[in-house]
């Protein structure tokens, strides 16, 4: 894991998070992936389901459940099936606490 430029100054905060997210290219991918989320799950309560304060582990487990529940018919079930476990982990680490 290597971080350059201004990222170095942010390492104390990043240190507690997964290596994937602190890799610059992965941060851009995290931003691209979570572009699908923020239109519904905006911060501050104006959302279908607020993600504010949700731990990353809980968010990842929920997304995986949506992905794996074959009988689930909600829009989240239908969308989560389009993401890999790795993508879900990155989304959860990005949006979760």
């Amino acid at each position: 894991m290597r971080c350059r430029g201004l990222l170095v100054g942010l390492l104390p905060w990043l240190a507690g998070c997964g290596a994937v997210v602190s890799e610059p290219a992965a941060i851009d991918q995290a931003a691209l992936l979570t572009a699908s989320c923020s239109g519904c799950h905006a911060r501050g309560g104006q959302a279908i389901a607020s993600l504010d304060g949700m731990p990353a582990t809980e968010l990842e487990a929920k997304l995986l459940a949506y992905r794996n529940e074959a009988e689930g018919g909600s829009s989240m079930h239908r969308m989560a099936r389009g993401y890999s476990a790795e993508q879900i982990a990155l989304i959860a680490r990005t949006l979760g606490e």
Binding site: A25, G39, A80
Partner: protein, 425 residues
């Protein structure tokens, strides 16, 4: 505030801003003086301008929009049915002005893609390093014989929310009991594929309550439509035989409108209506063609990874104006394409290649005032081409409980609040 929250916020901010690779000093120096012009202040343009202002705080970002406020199309069918007021559809640009975005209240009249300039009807000329066009749709007047600007005052389209929405609402209110409402649907592609059928549902809901002997006929230039099975089941359940849908091959294709006689002519038939709503032929907003970004179809081919025009370099196109199938022409798509495009524009300005990713869309449609159905899709945009992710997406379950349909109705309302907040508030 806990340390965890601080770290979470910082990470979220970093991630939301796509500041990963963009943070290097070389990238910052490259992008500092960049000029980015965004044309069109809808869900796509407003979202793109806002994210770019956060991604590239030193860049010059100008949003060109002729109207002082935006009137949202999603949820405007509720206005038609008397369930919502236009004020709830209307958004100003004041928040954007406070975020370092120059909002130019003008119409973009031309683009010089060699000199990289945009001409405005105010007389001003804006130069750009990257141009993002989010012009939405223009109605293609005359493409349906007899349907022009004047005809739309008698037979509203209400396909751009605003005075047309209120005109159609007033006509529905004034219609005598036992009257006939006609909705003509143009051949795909058009803005908001499920929109005409949500509209039929909510108008039927209004009629059932206020004019129960009225009839609603959908004359469709298509053979099938979005969420068709779910819509038709809801129509039978809630409105009995009030709604009749005619496919293109079943005399549904309208070939001529006669606004004076209040008649629509199909291939073999003529239908008279007391209220007639025409969802007319459409194409990309005119500035796209001026920029050379629209092809013979009237829509804009793009590289799906970068949203850069396939026809003119340095020009990106997002939202309804694009050829992005299987992504639909929806506010959800436009908002999300805007965010992905903004990140790619920032990467390109910093000398980095666009990064493929996965995108998603959900469109909710009301079938009654408090129940809704939805269609979702997930898409990859690698190698410049959109593709469906196999095994993902699809529509709400058939035969779901009323509680499920009501839950999707609430989700739709929450979606509208969240997306308008992200774009405008």
């Amino acid at each position: 505030m806990t340390a965890g929250l601080t770290r979470r916020r910082l990470l979220a901010t970093l991630s939301a801003l796509g500041l990963g690779a963009l943070l290097s000093p070389a990238s910052q120096a490259r992008t500092a003086k960049a000029g980015i012009v965004v044309v069109g202040g809808g869900f796509g343009g407003a979202t793109a301008a806002r994210l770019l202002a956060r991604l590239l705080p030193a860049a010059r970002i100008t949003l060109v929009e002729a109207s002082p406020h935006y009137v949202a199309c999603p949820f405007s069918n509720l206005v038609l049915a008397g369930l919502r007021e236009m004020e709830a559809q209307t958004f100003a640009y004041s928040a954007l002005s406070g975020e370092g975005i120059t909002v130019a209240r003008a119409r973009a009249t031309d683009v010089d893609t060699v000199a990289r300039t945009v001409a405005l009807d105010s007389g001003a000329t804006l130069s750009y390093d990257r141009l993002i066009l989010s012009p939405g749709i223009d109605l293609h007047w005359g493409a349906l014989e007899g349907y022009d600007l004047a005809a739309a005052e008698r037979m509203p389209h209400a396909w751009k929310a605003g005075p047309q929405t209120l005109l159609l609402r007033e006509q529905l209110r004034a219609m005598p009991e036992g009257g006939v409402v006609l909705i003509s649907v143009t051949a795909a592609p058009f803005r908001c594929p499920p929109g005409p059928y949500e509209r039929a549902s909510l108008i039927a809901g209004y009629l059932r309550q206020h004019k129960p002997r009225a009839k609603l006929i959908v004359l469709d230039s298509n053979e099938a439509f979005s969420k068709q099975g779910l819509f038709q089941a809801a129509w039978r359940q809630h409105y009995g035989d009030m709604i009749e849908w005619r496919s293109a091959s079943n005399f549904g294709r309208v070939i001529r409108a006669d606004a004076r006689a209040m008649e629509l002519h199909t291939d073999f038939d003529t239908e008279r209506g007391d209220v007639i709503n025409v969802v007319p032929p459409q194409r990309a907003g005119a500035i796209a063609a001026r920029a050379g970004a629209a092809n013979a179809s009237g829509w804009c081919p793009i590289d799906a990874t970068s949203f850069e025009s396939a026809l003119v370099p340095g020009v990106h196109v997002i939202g309804d104006a694009t050829i992005a199938a299987p992504m639909p022409k929806s506010a959800f798509s436009a908002n999300q394409q805007a965010k992905v495009c903004a990140i790619q524009v920032a990467r390109l300005l910093a000398g980095m290649a666009p990064e493929p990713t996965t995108l998603a869309n959900t469109c909710y449609s009301y079938t009654t005032q408090d129940t809704a159905i939805s269609v979702s899709g997930v898409y990859n945009n690698a190698d410049g081409v959109f593709s469906n992710v196999p095994g993902a997406g699809g529509v709400s379950p058939s035969g779901a409980t009323p509680a499920f349909r009501q839950r999707e109705g609430r989700q739709a309302a929450d979606w509208f609040r969240a997306i308008t907040r992200e774009a405008f508030l």
